[in-house]
């Protein structure tokens, strides 16, 4: 079906919906991108960006709706189908084979699809050079991928996407780990791709970089495409659209109410670190104090050392230099087990990789860190274990039909609550948590926030590490800003807002001379 008069857009997704175990990740999303058009795609964590990308690139298939390429209906069952239709993807961490050369990586798979058994030629194809030239990286052709920087790898990934008849490239957070100069170069390349008539879908959290790169911006919220704005839309407009007005107001309210009580909650010092640095030097010379009753966020880009700092506190990473005192006593933590022994619990991010035992039941998961509490001479007392887990499931509102069901059968939010229960089971006085609500739906998120509030109300402390800045603004009492391994500022009270956090993160990245905004006081500015 062709629209009369005009050529159909390069790609057209109409009424696309996708559900995961009953929960809608995308509902009725329509998106059209013309050849040579650069489209921005923004939305909060869990808004459905990843799902939409996965459908457009063949990694998932939609429950409802159709995808048309140049007006013709296309059915993608696997990534190869999308590739054959000229759709390539560039991820934050490019999927290249590290031990092959750049040219070999670009040609990888081409020979397979044509004549499987033909011998590989040693000569690099001219198309490969052309693609590398387009991204200005022709001199890299014979280098081994493992010797390249992250930015260079991304150029290679782009060249790879173009080299096989790529007509559209999806960029999934391409600048998340790039230095500013590298990002600027990437934007030049993107300009060249547009001039070459390639359609682009550009997904990012960094709203400030959209304007120079894209023509139009699609905003997703809770699985729906809520707006299509021009590329020049202001950051504030986009943030409002992404969050929805009411949501922002409600969460602002929570934040204000919570911070008005910070001062009453504050207790003695739990963590006192001075001159901290890890062995690899990802952060240096950091001083940090955490007191009972507060939620302290460590905020920074992936290379800021914020995650590494929290891992050091949790015993999951070795301290290189400096003194870390827990409850007034200097400690050396060699493992999370030792940290647990000192009353520090750790809820790591990425629950699939670092949290869940896929072969365990809900009960086994929750009891894992607290087995010494329910064993006699190494033998598990079944009744005590049942009691402990039942208590914790109630406390953390884990809804599972039976405690013996597999942990992997729970929804993301419930898995996360179960992992929180596991952390609580060891009776920590400090909880270090990374991205506690990643992939959790809004109700589940609220429940997890409430748990964190309960924990600090009971006199424990929380060190929060979250890439979701609105979460940081909503639930933390204090935010410490890190940039390239050093503390560059601290926000608290009224100054602790999402825009300020974002500025604190990116002003440094843009190379601005001003240091991050300073807080309104050591803690609890309150109205």
């Amino acid at each position: 079906m062709t629209v009369t008069g005009t050529a159909p857009p390069f790609i057209e997704a109409v009424g696309v919906s996708k559900h995961f175990s009953g929960v809608a990740a995308l509902s009725d999303v329509t998106l059209r991108i013309g050849a040579g058009e650069a489209r921005g795609l923004v939305g909060e964590n869990g808004a459905g960006k990843s799902t939409l990308i996965a459908i457009l690139t063949g990694a998932l298939s939609a429950d409802q709706g159709i995808v048309r390429i140049k007006g013709e209906e296309a059915h993608f069952h696997r990534p190869l189908d999308a590739l054959r239709n000229g759709i390539g993807t560039v991820y934050q961490h490019s999927a290249l084979v590290p031990n092959l050369s750049v040219a070999q990586n670009i040609e990888l798979g081409v020979e397979v699809t044509k004549t499987p058994l033909r011998l590989l030629t040693r000569r690099t194809r001219p198309e490969t050079f052309e693609a590398l030239e387009l991204v200005g990286a022709a001199d890299l052709a014979q280098r081994t991928v493992s010797t390249l920087t992250l930015a260079q790898r991304q150029l290679v990934a782009i060249a790879r996407a173009c080299s096989r008849g790529g007509r559209m490239i999806v960029f999934d957070e391409p600048t998340a780990s790039l230095a500013p100069a590298e990002s600027r170069y990437l934007f030049d390349v993107i300009g060249r791709l547009r001039a070459a008539g390639i359609a682009l879908l550009y997904v990012t959290h960094r709203l400030d970089e959209l304007a120079p790169v894209v023509d139009r911006i699609t905003v997703l919220r809770a699985g729906r495409a809520v707006a299509e704005c021009p590329g020049t839309a202001s950051e504030q407009e986009l943030v409002d659209l992404m969050a929805g007005h009411e949501a922002v107001e409600r969460e602002d309210e929570i934040a204000v109410r919570r911070r008005s009580t910070t001062r009453q909650r504050l207790g003695g010092v739990i963590i006192d670190g001075s001159g901290l640095a890890d062995a690899a030097g990802t952060f240096r010379d950091v001083d940090l104090t955490v007191r009972r009753g507060e939620i302290v966020a460590l905020v920074g880009l992936p290379d800021s050392g914020a995650v590494e700092l929290s891992q050091v506190i949790a015993g999951a990473r070795r301290l290189g230099v400096g003194v870390l005192e827990v409850n007034g006593r200097p400690v050396t933590l060699r493992s999370p087990a030792q940290a647990i022994g000192r009353g520090i619990g750790y809820m790591a991010g990425d629950r699939k990789v670092k949290g869940v035992f896929p072969n365990a039941s809900v009960r086994e998961t929750i009891a894992a860190s607290a087995l010494p509490r329910v064993t006699t001479l190494g033998v598990i007392r079944a009744r005590r274990e049942r009691q402990l887990v039942a208590d914790l499931m109630a406390t953390c509102r884990v809804s599972a039909s039976r405690p013996t069901m597999s942990i992997t059968a729970l929804s993301g939010g419930n898995q996360q609550k179960a992992l929180f229960a596991r952390t609580l089971a060891a009776q920590p006085r400090l909880i270090v948590c990374e991205d506690p609500t990643a992939g959790v739906d809004p109700p589940g998120r609220g429940a997890l926030y409430q748990l964190l509030f309960d924990v600090v109300a009971a006199g424990a402390a929380v060190v929060l590490n979250s890439s979701d800045l609105r979460e940081v603004a909503t639930i933390s009492d204090r935010a410490i800003l890190l940039w390239r391994g050093s503390v560059v500022g601290e926000l608290s009270g009224d100054a602790l807002t999402e825009p300020n956090l974002m500025r604190g993160q990116f002003d440094q990245a843009a190379g601005g001379p001003n240091p991050a905004p300073s807080g309104t006081g050591s803690a609890g500015g309150g109205p």
């Binding site: 896929p358 072969n359 509490r373 598990i380 406390t395 009776q427």
Partner: protein
């Protein structure tokens, strides 16, 4: 904040009581509902769960094979023949249960063949110089020590288990062969074979010994924190470490237990043949792996139970016996057990695949 001494569980830090208070009522209500209302429903779930488990498939397999043999061979269901199967299976079951520990912890042990060979040779060599019982203890201790060494290589040094245990196994088999260059070692003690030939009532002693060790293995896996830790480390080592589980110690323990069981299997085997023979190791090892996989243990999934492994060993024992009863060439054993393993894995994987496709 009030401190209420709730139970014998360790003294609560300040955090717990405050968190406990509100939901305690809710909790009690929920538990009552669970116990009175839908007990039948829960039983239904449990039966459905059971029938989907790989152990259940292994058990059904075993029953079917036994039924076929009972109806086709009148000699199958006789006391003499059943004792025979028991003796044949005992060694295999013990060795396979040891392997289970290592597989559940996410590793693999290719040195158990060498451990079996070495334990047999050590026991047979020492039997003339000390009471047979002590010779057996020394042989098991020897294999256990090898297990500790494997565990240190894998758990502490971080070497790849498949490479380390392959190498250790080669060395052990080599040592056992060097000791027996002039043929299998004939122990100078006439009681050496008693363990394998004597009976306790109607049951062969060797079966009782194997059953006892298997029960201990089951208890450790299902009732102790070590058992729970083994499953956790095999399921997700990173998550286990971050949750405070001493992963290195858990791995060392699983290889050590595997070594102890391999040593025990070694003396049982040696007692059966009445000598210390280095050549029994390798074939026993392959059969033990077959038993483990027949018993529904996944490779790299850390799923599996002792009961399944015992069923797996019994299936192999019964098949081998059936081949004897039909007076077939014993080489058929390999073909049949290989086919059985393929069938078993098909039964485990395909239903899940089909279910995934349907949803």
């Amino acid at each position: 904040m009030s401190t209420k001494p709730k139970d014998a569980v360790s003294p609560p830090v300040e955090l717990r009581p405050a968190l406990d208070e509100a939901p305690a009522v809710d909790l009690a209500g929920r538990r009552d509902g669970g116990d009175t209302g839908d007990r039948a429903a829960r039983r239904g779930i449990r039966v459905a769960h059971l029938s989907a488990s790989p152990e259940f498939f292994a058990f059904v397999f075993l029953v079917v094979i036994c039924a076929v043999l009972t109806f086709s061979r009148s000699t199958f269901l006789t006391e003499y023949n059943l004792q025979n199967i028991g003796r044949q299976t005992a060694v295999l079951a013990v060795l396979a249960v040891g392997l289970l520990y290592v597989l559940l912890s996410g590793g693999i042990d290719l040195s158990v063949g060498g451990q079996v060979a070495l334990a047999g040779v050590v026991a047979a060599s020492l039997a003339g110089h000390m009471p047979v019982g002590w010779a057996f203890v020394a042989a098991v201790a020897c294999a256990t020590l090898i297990g500790v060494i494997n565990g240190l290589f894998v758990g502490v040094a971080g070497f790849s288990p498949i490479i380390v245990t392959l190498a250790v196994g080669q060395v052990l088999t080599g040592v056992a062969l060097v000791f027996t260059t002039s043929g299998p070692i004939q122990p100078s003690d006439s009681h050496y074979s008693d363990l394998a030939t004597a009976n306790l009532g109607a049951l062969p002693t060797i079966v009782v010994a194997a059953a006892a060790s298997v029960l201990v293995a089951h208890a450790i896996l299902s009732r102790t924190s070590l058992g729970r830790y083994i499953y956790s480390v095999g399921g997700n080592e990173t998550a286990a470490w971050l949750a405070g589980i001493p992963t290195a110690l858990v791995k060392i323990s699983s290889y050590t237990i595997c070594g102890a069981f391999a040593g025990f299997a070694g003396i049982l085997a040696s007692s059966r043949i009445g000598s210390g023979d280095a050549s029994v190791g390798p074939s026993q090892m392959l059969e033990a792996f077959a038993a483990v996989f027949l018993g529904g243990v996944g490779f790299g999934t850390a799923r599996g139970k002792v009961i399944g492994v015992v069923c797996g060993a019994l299936i192999l024992g019964v098949i081998s016996n059936g081949i004897d009863l039909f007076q077939l060439n014993s080489d058929w054993q390999y073909i049949v057990s290989g086919a059985m393993i393929l069938l078993a894995i098909a039964f485990q994987v395909l239903p899940a695949r089909l279910a995934a496709r349907r949803s």
